[in-house]
């Protein structure tokens, strides 16, 4: 069996856990960013495997972020607990939205998820309890801003997401999502309740996005309508998945690492308009690189195997 794969993963995780012993604050912060987008990219890809695309990543991040901050400030809850509550609420909203619209596909679904993002952005901007346009500032960042603590938190979320993505690939969910993406009529005729699986996967991935948004808010210690619902939360994961390779766990991971590094460099080279490069990456990936970078690796691997 392919136990070596899990061994490598375990070793990587152990090394990653020990990194704060060796690295300074800046590299750790950089890694935090990578983990944030890695979790978002992998979770976005998990739903994409069914052929459906959510443009609500930013929305669920924002919902998670605002919920966790409100829970900490108004209810005095432990930040970690409030992150979980943020994830739960994001999942709950995804359940309502998914239940209402997942009989429709693709563009309709994508647009509704985008509309949900906008509605929540407007809501938090207009309500007093959410601090209006200025947002809310937490008195303390999580772990009092300790770099190692926040690093471990983000690492845990990223690893959790990756393991969940594996579970998706190793269980009946893999069959359900692949068949839905391939041919819904065949899937339904084979007894698959497509709607049920789409809702389940949408809820789970949205909850992860809510959790990431919550952790983000706790780490940086504030939420605002613009930063918490930032379009980057949907733009970057999408680009990462397309660049790294969709329909896999490792594709989005590779994409997240690569693009986060590229993004840092690009911000210095083209301060305004570095998003242009993301657009070009997306177009190139769709037209000429359908499997992404991971797809190239797999092809080379298959050739070597033969």
């Amino acid at each position: 069996m392919k136990y070596w794969k899990y061994m490598i993963f375990a070793v990587c995780v152990l090394v990653a856990i020990s990194l704060p012993k060796f690295l300074g604050v800046y590299p750790l912060q950089m890694l935090n960013i990578i983990f944030i987008y890695m979790a978002l990219a992998v979770s976005w890809d998990m739903l994409l495997r069914s052929g459906q695309m959510s443009l609500g990543v930013a929305g669920f991040c924002g919902i998670g972020g605002y919920t966790t901050v409100l829970c900490t400030i108004n209810l005095g809850l432990n930040p970690l607990v409030s992150i979980l509550i943020g994830a739960l609420l994001a999942g709950l909203i995804a359940l309502l939205v998914g239940y209402a619209v997942l009989h429709l596909r693709l563009l309709y679904f994508a647009i509704v998820t985008l509309a949900v993002t906008e509605i929540f952005r407007i809501l938090v901007r207009n309500f007093d309890i959410t601090g209006g346009p200025e947002g809310i500032i937490l008195p303390n960042a999580i772990f009092k801003g300790d770099a190692a603590g926040t690093y471990w938190l983000m690492l845990a979320i990223a690893v959790f997401t990756i393991i969940l993505s594996w579970v998706f690939q190793k269980t009946r969910i893999h069959f359900a999502l692949t068949s839905t993406a391939n041919d819904e009529i065949v899937a339904a005729s084979s007894g698959l309740n497509i709607f049920k699986y789409l809702v389940i996967v949408f809820v789970i991935t949205s909850a992860i996005q809510g959790m990431v948004g919550g952790a983000y808010a706790q780490i940086y210690g504030f939420v605002t309508p613009e930063s918490s619902f930032s379009v980057n939360f949907v733009l970057l994961p999408v680009t990462m998945v397309l660049l790294g390779g969709s329909n896999s766990t490792w594709g989005p991971v590779i994409g997240a690492v690569l693009l986060s590094v590229i993004a840092e460099a690009l911000k210095l080279v083209i301060p305004y308009g570095h998003l242009l490069v993301y657009g070009i990456i997306m177009i190139v990936a769709i037209l000429w690189l359908p499997g992404g970078i991971y797809g190239i690796f797999k092809k080379i691997g298959a050739k070597a195997h033969n």
């Binding site: 692949t178 068949s179 065949v186 339904a188 084979s190 007894g191």
Partner: protein, 240 residues
């Protein structure tokens, strides 16, 4: 008691009735052929029974239960399985995984049970090298795989929608044997087919559709001699 019974089954698309007032009964362990010229409503009939379209009016009873308004996957759970006129393999899965779909979702088996059952069905259907991707399979193998996928749902009624189309003579013979074997295990089968020899060799009874209506039904020999059926087919040919 009839396994499947339709009463005045009608399905309209826009103003056009693709199926109108179709009443028929299918008994257990029977092999029934449904024939008719192109556009007679054979495919619509399959799709309405399999739950892809809901009927505009009329009633479908299966095992004595009214299933007119149930959805496709629910009908699969009840025991109606089908293949498709055009080959529809799931390209993202390999041969065995395609067949496992039926056990996993039709019967709710675990991965392990579904896999074992799929292996058994592969053996029954004489499908080899089961871990192959779809791209490495021949048309005959894909057709067999689709039947296997339907069988994996452990149905009591199996629809075969033009499974012989595009096969050569030897392949057709092989397929006829396979279908006979499936029926030998007690399966009720409805065959929709253009190849008349298949109908003659396999079916106990034939139902002829024309313009969405039942034209006549009976034994193959009687039906094929019926003047109305000949006109229906010849009429179609002369139009071509």
């Amino acid at each position: 008691m009839a396994l499947l019974k339709t009463t005045n089954l009608t399905r309209q698309f826009g103003g056009l009735a693709a199926l109108s007032d179709v009443s028929m009964e299918i008994n257990e362990k029977e092999v029934v052929g449904v024939i008719g010229p192109n556009g007679a409503g054979k495919s619509t009939f399959t799709n309405v029974i399999a739950g892809l379209y809901l009927p505009t009016s009329g009633k479908i009873e299966f095992k004595g239960r009214d299933i007119s308004m149930t959805l496709a996957h629910e009908r699969c759970h009840l025991g109606i399985a089908r293949t498709f006129q055009l080959m529809r393999p799931l390209h993202g899965l390999n041969m065995l995984e395609n067949i496992m779909m039926g056990g996993l979702f039709g019967k709710g088996h675990s991965l392990k049970v579904a896999r074992n059952n799929a292996m058994e069905i592969c053996q029954f259907m004489a499908l080899e090298k089961v871990e192959r991707p779809i791209s490495a399979m021949t048309a005959l193998e894909i057709k067999k795989m689709e039947i296997a996928r339907a069988l994996a749902t452990e149905p009591s009624l199996l629809f075969l929608d033009e499974v012989m189309a595009g096969l050569n003579k030897d392949e057709t013979m092989e397929m006829i044997e396979t279908v006979r074997k499936i029926n030998g295990q007690g399966m009720t089968i409805i065959i929709i087919e253009h190849v008349m020899r298949v109908i003659r060799e396999l079916t106990h009874r034939v139902i002829v559709l024309e313009w969405g209506k039942v034209l006549c039904e009976g034994l193959y020999e009687d039906v094929s001699a019926d003047q109305r059926v000949i006109t229906a087919y010849l009429g179609e040919e002369s139009e071509c």
